[in-house]
């Protein structure tokens, strides 16, 4: 059993999810290699090589991979993947975009969002927004899997694994990058933060949403949002937590002015401790919260901030 993990990186930095995907990979096989595809990625390759359990890092560093388009990275993966039994990536927007393209070309199925490895060919994954958990056996010669990173602890650091540079002909003329706007990354990253403070429609406006940012700053937390808050323009799209946004499982999740729709719960109900602040005592969020506070959030948040300072 050997596993190829596609590393995810941004601005020359390995994303924290990759260490979690490696942890999942090690439960499927012991020959775990990491592919780093991009341009000017030598530091990313070094970071990947120092992840515990990694056998080797394959680096494909060339200008035509600078924007890491799915069509281009797919060509790279296709040249390497035939000697592996498993192909893994994080169930991030990067992994979700790339892996099914590979699967389509290989005419092989993909298992999305795996949360548990039962054996090298049997896995658990949530379906229906986490309303059910399916145990699925995959007997394909190459098992293509995206991993829900919040369900796996990251591997630690170890002595650097070997890495080799490879060059691949990339011919993608289908797509090109026009522009990218990075959300400003104040505070810890949503996917791996120890504490997340999320605001919903109850915040009422973008200006009021600053109360969430301020509390998050106080707790060294990442900021999250419900779909309603993102749709209303209170928060950026990449902060949406839920079935169709980001999945988080921090030590502490604080939901403020969020009702608790199943689609939102799907993204945060594995958090260790959940706090809900809502003025409606019948809000479904209270059914899953460890600590519920029925209160007007505009009273509660300033009090909470001063209690924590």
């Amino acid at each position: 059993m050997s596993v190829l993990v596609v590393a995810e990186h941004l601005g020359g930095v390995l994303q924290s999810g990759t260490a979690r995907v490696v942890a999942a990979a090690l439960q499927m096989g012991d020959g775990v290699d990491v592919l780093v595809a991009g341009h000017n990625v030598s530091e990313v390759a070094e970071q990947a090589a120092s992840l515990a359990g990694v056998r080797a890092v394959v680096v494909v560093d060339q200008p035509n991979l600078a924007s890491q388009l799915a069509e281009s990275v797919c060509e790279v993966v296709l040249t390497l993947v035939d000697s592996y039994s498993h192909l893994l990536a994080a169930a991030s927007t990067f992994g979700k975009n790339l892996l099914p393209r590979v699967a389509g070309i290989k005419r092989l199925p993909q298992l999305s969002d795996v949360i548990e490895v039962i054996s090298a060919d049997t896995f658990k994954r949530p379906i229906y927004a986490g309303g059910a958990i399916a145990t699925v056996q995959n007997t394909a010669p190459l098992k293509i899997i995206t991993v829900r990173t919040s369900a796996f602890g990251a591997v630690g650091q170890a002595a650097a694994a070997a890495y080799s540079g490879v060059s691949v002909d990339v011919n993608n003329s289908l797509t090109s990058l026009v522009s990218e706007t990075q959300a400003d990354a104040a505070g810890p990253e949503l996917g791996s933060a120890r504490v997340v403070v999320s605001g919903g429609r109850g915040m009422g406006s973008k200006e009021n949403f600053a109360l969430i940012e301020s509390l998050a700053g106080r707790l060294n937390a990442a900021v999250g949002a419900s779909r309603a808050a993102v749709d209303a323009g209170y928060a950026a799209n990449d902060l949406q937590v839920g079935q169709t946004g980001k999945i988080v499982a921090p030590e502490l999740y604080v939901a403020v002015g969020i009702s608790g729709a199943i689609q939102h719960l799907a993204g945060m109900k594995e958090s260790r401790v959940i706090v809900a602040i809502n003025q409606d005592e019948d809000a479904p969020i209270f059914k899953i919260a460890d600590y519920g506070l029925k209160m007007d959030l505009f009273e509660a948040l300033p009090q909470l901030e001063s209690a924590l300072s």
């Binding site: 941004l10 388009l69 799915a70 069509e71 797919c74 927007t93 990067f94 979700k96 975009n97 099914p100 393209r101 699967a103 389509g104 005419r107 092989l108 199925p109 993909q110 298992l111 999305s112 379906i127 229906y128 986490g130 309303g131 059910a132 958990i133 399916a134 145990t135 699925v136 056996q137 394909a140 289908l174 797509t175 026009v178 990218e180 706007t181 959300a183 996917g191 504490v195 779909r227 993102v230 950026a236 799209n237 079935q243 169709t244 980001k246 502490l252 199943i262 109900k269 401790v273 706090v275 209270f286 059914k287 899953i288 919260a289 460890d290 600590y291 519920g292 029925k294 909470l304 209690a307």
Partner: protein, 250 residues
């Protein structure tokens, strides 16, 4: 330009799914069904492109049993011109659906294929990307804006780090995210008129689905239930519990 749109029938998003007591599958008997919300967004986008004079024909496609005609009718009430039902009683996975779409792309020669980013039942988020790979087309997943240029499109995508805009040569595959548009509701006269629009029913067997079925669902279980916790009376009590009981803040 012709647009091909994928429409899937799924459980209504407001309904909490039940697992069968024998843990073989979920129980969808007597469950309210609807068009997958991301497909509604795909249909809406196609209709807007037709209203803008960019699209000339909208063909909606659903792979499934006869009942999917309900969702195809709805799509036609919303503005699609004709429908194709690829009929099968069996459950089909994203790979098989992608193969069907790849064949339809070859037959229909659309300028654009619009699919949802994700089915809210399987939560797969695969079909569009698989199709793009098979058909050798460019892909723009998680679209929140589409702009037509001369011979190409620019698509803004919702990605983890923020937003990304790509340019794609046509034909291409685009999958819709929540903020691409707000779907309209069907009007009664349009629902009546949609009954006259054609649905071409074709058995799945007419398609060359080559992929072997390697996946076997061994069990479907209810998720672990979270215990409801306690209500606290004040912010002071909350902070005290978080510090001294849960130990999550210092």
């Amino acid at each position: 330009m012709k647009i091909l749109v994928g429409v899937k029938r799924v459980i209504d998003y407001n309904v909490q799914v039940r697992v069968r007591p024998d843990e073989t599958d979920v129980d969808l008997s007597n469950t309210k069904m609807a068009m997958n919300p991301f497909c509604e967004i795909a249909v809406e986008e196609a209709v807007r492109l037709k209203e803008q004079g960019i699209a000339s024909e909208i063909v909606v496609v659903s792979v499934g049993p006869k009942v999917v005609q309900e969702q195809l009718r709805l799509a036609m009430a919303l503005g699609a011109d004709r429908a194709i039902q690829v009929e099968t009683e069996d459950a089909v996975d994203s790979l098989a659906v992608a193969e069907v779409f790849a064949e339809l792309v070859a037959q229909e020669q659309p300028g654009l294929v619009l699919l949802g980013k994700q089915s809210i039942d399987s939560d797969n988020n695969q079909t569009g990307q698989m199709l793009a790979g098979m058909a050798g087309l460019g892909q723009a997943t998680f679209a929140s804006a589409i702009n037509f240029k001369e011979g190409c499109i620019q698509v803004t995508r919702e990605v983890d780090g923020g937003l990304q805009t790509l340019e794609l040569t046509l034909p291409a595959v685009v999958t819709t995210d929540l903020r691409l548009n707000e779907p309209r509701h069907a009007r009664l006269p349009d629902i009546m008129k949609s009954k006259k629009k054609p649905i071409d029913v074709r058995p799945l067997g007419d398609f060359n689905v080559t992929a072997q079925n390697y996946l076997k669902v061994l069990k479907v279980q209810a998720p672990a239930q979270r215990q409801a916790g306690e209500m606290v009376a004040s912010v002071a009590e909350l902070v005290d519990k978080l510090k001294n009981q849960a130990g999550v803040i210092a």
